[in-house]
Amino acid sequence: MLKCGMSGSQVKVFGKAIQALSRISDELWLDPSEKGLALRSVNSCRSAYGCVLFSPVFFQHYQWSTSVKVNENDSTTSNLNCKLGMKSILPIFRCLNSLERNVEKCKIFTSSDLCKVVIQFFCRHGIRRTHNVCFQESQPLQVIFEKNMCSNMLIIQPRVLAEAVVLFTSSQEEVTLAVTPLSVCLKSSSDEPMDLTSSVYSEMFVGPDEFDFFQIGADTEITFCFKELKGMLTFSEATHAPIAIHFDFPGKPMALSIDDMLLEANFILATLADEPSRASSPPSLCLSQKQKRSDLMCSTNNNSKTGKNATSKAPGCILRKAAPKRLYPNETQTDIPALENCGSPIMKRVNEDISEVPESSVSDTEEGPGSSYLRQFSCMFFGAVSSDQRQHFNYPFDSLATASDSEEDMNNGSSSTF
């Protein structure tokens, strides 16, 4: 179903993408489509998502097809639902510099019968290295995020960001980006009182003239995970392309993206919501959402036979922090399907770790000692991607009671998916 080939230097970029995504999670989806080969990764607590889409033009050759299974009454087309463990695939793309030097050609193809991805390196001196990686059948997750709707957008050369990143220790968990129309500041974020053993607080101001593009709608400060920023940065240095940062207010996810002729990379990161914790949202909100989510085998337009190109791929939601008992957030962006603005479970962050919070436990009892207020990350929910049109019709969106006008919006919405 997937067959593609690339040269040695392309392997380096491909490998860098995998390395960048490995900072997000231990699992990688290989998702080929007519748009190209997408590599996707989501972290376990759903606060970071990365997708690198290599267009067919990136490869020396690229072939993709869906497989058609013929059952008794109907035929169902299915995508390559391929999930790989990072532990399996990362070592294959380990020494990228030597791969670039030695590999003349790299072929990646999937075997349709066995759940296997074959990666072959044709190296110098007639050496051929073949790796067979087994994959798990799993539908890739996607995020719908209207990055162009963000009021703040910065485009910066990776070199400048790299100079800022060097200031922070690798143990720094989060950084804060503070912007005003006149200046941009990247600083370490920590709300604990500093004592001798705390890490150093660092901040760097960058003037607007250092950005390729500078658009700030309103003064804002967003805090996000440092590790994921570094992941995106190393990838951008390999592609030599500028990084675009789209963001709004604290709590709303931010996007780091690279848009190039050959590839498109998007890292969607949750940002810390700034307000003190309120009473926890009813646990049932999380649980029921999960159930409903699994019921939703949403439509996609993977096979463009449907002709519904405008339909968004999946009703994944970017859920913002919302007051408990309120299912709709304060602001609604009208262009985004209302589905995206479902009430959000408040994900707790305990002891400053981004650890997986069980879906049903959102209670105040886990407050860490000494923390004066709880800070939460917005949680991003994702929809599953499926090419099964039939199921879409069987399970309309009224199961998500919050999105009353979702169906029209789904048809009219122009949200972009990654």
């Binding site: 200031l167 500093m194 004592d195 001798l196 150093v200």
Partner: protein
């Protein structure tokens, strides 16, 4: 209590960075003592460091183009701060390409040494970077522990061989035993021995001239003075010495202490290793 200083010269900044990196290799926490003429890095937590103590001294005017300080009180014209040596070293390393570095003592939420760096970026526009290094102010009542250690009257004083050579030898010896015997005499011979009969001999090292009242005056030049020390402590000291110092003297007090006295251009470093008890 106030402190404000500025470094404008790249060479001075490099040298200061190098000093802090050396201190960072010697101990995790150190005391920075600021006085009108001098800066001292002191590691004197005897219990934590296993009896080792370090005293590093530098003249502030050799480094800072501007230097203002106000001590704790009129009589006590000094400030003593405890900080993580790695923090200072790392902050200074980010300033390798700086146009200017300013440092001052601040108290935002807690006492900090704020280092403000004006960086010249590649695009030739300057950028301001600020770091707040958390520090702890050491109260006056604990200052007695921070005095310059008295140089013990040594039995033998000898110039050290090239430190890099010494380091590679001691590094190999540490795999064999934890227990190292350092012995030297007034004929310029230094031996490093391990109980299992492995020894390295350095010859023709030379001995510094001794003062008339020194005990070593009447000493037989061939007689060795020895100390048994923990090899790790010597190794830790040698690990911080990347560059060969201007002057390196080893003073041995038989069965008591090894006192290593180095001079790197204008920075003096003294390291005391006690004998195994």
């Amino acid at each position: 209590m106030k402190f404000r200083a500025k470094i404008m010269d790249a060479a001075c900044l490099n040298h200061f960075t190098w000093v802090s990196a050396m201190i960072a290799k010697l101990a995790k926490t150190c005391t920075l003592r600021i006085s009108p003429q001098k800066l001292n890095f002191i590691l004197s937590d005897k219990v934590a460091n296993g009896g080792v103590s370090t005293w590093c001294e530098l003249e502030q005017e050799n480094f800072f183009s501007e230097f203002q300080m106000e001590g704790v009180s009129a009589e006590n014209k000094a400030i003593s701060l405890e900080l993580m040596s790695e923090n200072l070293s790392r902050v200074l390393k980010t300033a390798w390409n700086a146009r200017a570095l300013k440092s001052k003592l601040t108290n935002k939420h807690s006492p900090c040494l704020t280092v403000s760096i004006e960086l010249l970026s590649v695009s030739s526009s300057s950028r301001i970077v600020t770091h707040d290094i958390p520090v702890k102010v050491i109260p006056r009542k604990l200052w007695k522990d921070l005095q310059e250690p008295t140089v013990p009257v040594s039995d033998v004083s000898i110039y050290l061989p090239v430190l890099k050579t010494m380091k590679s030898i001691v590094e190999k010896m540490k795999n064999i035993s934890n227990h190292l015997i350092i012995e030297a005499n007034l004929s310029g011979e230094l031996n490093l021995k391990i109980e299992t009969e492995l020894a390295t001999h350095f010859k023709d090292l030379g001995n510094p001239p001794s003062a008339p009242e020194d005990a070593s005056q009447d000493r037989d030049p061939e007689q060795m003075a020895e100390v048994h020390v923990d090899i790790q402590k010597l190794l830790q000291f040698l690990a911080g010495q990347q560059v060969n110092p201007t002057k390196a003297v080893c003073n041995i007090v038989s069965n008591k202490t090894v006192h290593l006295d180095l001079l790197h251009e204008d920075v003096s470093l003294q390291y005391f290793i006690p004998a195994f008890s």
